[in-house]
């Protein structure tokens, strides 16, 4: 999305249903936008799992990348009119190796309820990436087979890639080794 128009006007934010659905292009019930020639889908949180499943049947058989993003303080994000902006986003890139095409999914995730259904039952390869997003942003993946920290220490407090987690906030202490 390279246009710099403001993301959503006030009216939309209060009442998304007021926008006629026909004006927004959809695929499997999710709004479609194009960003630098790349197709982006914007499902709501509840429809995310079904969308990934439907896309898999369509040929997008590989979950090539999955990461979180924190839009705290970013006023320049542009979203389709039917999508309510939230603080966090879950971004999944799917790949179709038979037709050589990609599609991206951006799910809005609220700060107050950072949980979303896991897609590891559809793409087992998303397991490590979901664990990383959980470490870095505190997103909770419901039904994840192994929700333990992957990159951070087990006793780490906080989620480093959140925008309100400043650099150098926690001095890194190496664990003391007994007898040395």
């Amino acid at each position: 999305m390279t246009d710099s128009s403001p993301p959503v006007d006030e009216e939309t934010e209060s009442d998304p249903a007021a926008i006629p659905e026909a004006e927004v292009e959809t695929l499997h019930g999710s709004a479609v936008t194009y960003s630098n020639d790349q197709t982006v889908l914007h499902p709501n949180k509840d429809g995310y799992h079904d969308l990934v499943e439907a896309l898999k049947d369509e040929g997008y058989g590989v979950c090539i990348d999955l990461c979180g993003a924190d839009y705290l303080g970013n006023e320049t994000r542009s979203l389709p009119l039917t999508v309510l902006p939230e603080r966090f986003e879950l971004v999944a890139n799917l790949l179709d190796v038979h037709d050589s095409r990609r599609i991206r999914i951006r799910v809005q995730i609220a700060e107050t309820d950072p949980s979303v259904t896991t897609i590891t039952d559809i793409h087992p390869g998303a397991e490590a990436m979901e664990r990383e997003a959980q470490d870095m942003f505190g997103l909770v993946f419901e039904g994840h087979p192994d929700p333990s920290p992957i990159l951070l220490p087990d006793d780490w407090q906080g989620h480093p890639l959140r925008k309100d987690f400043s650099m150098g906030r926690i001095p890194v202490q190496f664990k003391a080794v007994d007898g040395r």
Binding site: G61, A69, S78, N93, A128
Partner: protein, 418 residues
């Protein structure tokens, strides 16, 4: 049975916390011969600080789990505090065996957001340098893979050949590793005088040396015994687990981004995609060995087809003014100062770019909020995702074979942990 059910029912991944493992170790059950051990993080064959927790029955590996994060330094967070011009210095330290690829994918992402066209010569220099880097990375793999499997002499040979390439890199970029050479807008410097001869020298020596490797390893019965049929993975499993690069190609699927979704000028050069048949450790080894030969073909074509012209964009928004102008013009000096202190602004938006690194799909997801620093920079590291195939490949095999399989994944821990 579908691949998904198969992966699930195989029960190859050890999902157990350390505490649980400790509790289990204290319970003595004479009928239960399983035990859980750690391999690494300080083990010569784990390529850095990879720890693998394994459940063993005798010498057979049952379930296992790669434990990572020892090298995590928050590079994605650091990237949010660096301007787009400083960005490559950060990302180049991720995959330290193939640093130019991370610089490339980052630069492509920034250029996509800027909608910036780069000159032809910059594109071809990038391609030339990346293919040389693919060669040096695969040579490093041959060295460590040989050493892991007992061909210790191979370590010396692989390192020697890699050194030839690194010497050329030093001449071009000033550094043997972590070059910061590919930058948004082009490359940092033009190729030095005599670069053709330097590369010709490398290309002349290598084919003969690669044949020596064939004698030393490929055709050797002990080598074949240790690698053939070990760590087998199918195409469906590799795709489900998100594996790319030589691991995916070893299963017989000719998936290479250079061919499938061409970037730079890969649609103008002639090369073959090397694929395997059985998806075993030997296939992954052979693919990398032969990819060196294919990269050499591309490098030869780069030498022939290298266009003349500027090596970075003339767009003054991202490129500092030439050194000579700074002495004459106050405006040029201010411009130079601004670019290096404040950086250039990138229009708001988000983009995902991907290149084929020696390890698989190397992606960069970049979000700009319109400022001079990225709002979010995420690197899709192939090693990080490829490591997920490890438990499935070593399940049911011998402990000694696990070493061969870890080596054949060729993980670079700097990229895994970022």
């Amino acid at each position: 049975m579908t691949t998904l059910d198969h992966l699930r029912n195989r029960d190859a991944v050890l999902r157990m916390s350390e505490k649980e493992a400790e509790e289990r170790a204290s319970v003595v059950d004479p009928d239960d011969e399983r035990m859980i051990i750690n391999m690494g993080p300080q083990h010569p064959s784990t390529h850095g600080v990879l720890r693998v927790t394994m459940e063993l029955q005798g010498e057979t590996v049952l379930r296992s789990k790669p434990v990572i994060g020892y090298l995590h330094t928050g590079m994605e967070k650091t990237a949010e505090d660096l301007t787009y011009l400083q960005g490559p210095t950060n990302v180049t330290r991720m995959d330290y065996a193939a640093p130019l690829f991370t610089e490339l994918t980052f630069s492509l992402a920034v250029e996509a957001l800027l909608e910036l066209e780069i000159p032809d010569r910059a594109t071809w220099i990038r391609m030339l340098m990346c293919e040389l880097n693919r060669m040096s990375s695969h040579l490093l793999f041959l060295a460590t893979n040989g050493m892991d499997l007992g061909a210790v002499g191979m370590m010396i040979y692989g390192w020697r050949e890699r050194e030839e390439v690194l010497r050329f890199f030093e001449k071009v970029t000033g550094l043997r590793m972590n070059h910061n050479y590919i930058r948004p807008g082009g490359v940092a410097a033009d190729l030095p005088d005599g670069w053709r001869e330097d590369i010709q020298n490398i290309l002349q020596v290598l084919p003969e040396r690669l044949e020596q490797f064939d004698v030393l390893m490929t055709g050797q019965p002990i080598w074949r015994e240790r690698t053939q049929g070990i760590g087998v993975i199918t195409t469906e499993e590799a795709l489900a687990l998100g594996a790319t690069g030589p691991i995916l190609r070893s299963t017989g699927l000719a998936w290479d981004l250079r061919r499938a979704m061409p970037y730079l000028a890969y649609d103008q050069v002639d090369f073959d995609i090397v694929v395997g048949t059985y998806g075993d450790t030997f296939d992954r080894y052979a693919i990398r060995l032969n990819e060196i030969r294919e990269s050499m073909r591309i490098v030869e074509q780069c030498i022939e087809m290298m266009p003349e012209g500027p090596y970075r964009t003339e767009d003054r928004k991202v490129t500092p003014p030439p050194r000579a102008r700074i002495d004459e013009s106050m405006e040029a000096l201010i411009h130079h100062f601004k670019i290096f202190t404040e950086g250039f602004k990138v229009p708001p938006g988000e983009v995902y770019t991907a290149v084929e690194s020696p390890r698989g799909e190397l992606g960069c997801y970049l979000i700009s909020d319109g400022g001079p620093k990225p709002q979010r920079m995420h690197i899709r590291a192939p090693s990080f995702v490829n490591l997920q195939t490890l438990p499935h490949m070593i399940h049911g095999g011998l402990l000694a074979d696990a070493i061969a399989v870890i080596s054949s994944i060729d993980p670079i821990m700097g990229e895994v942990d970022r």
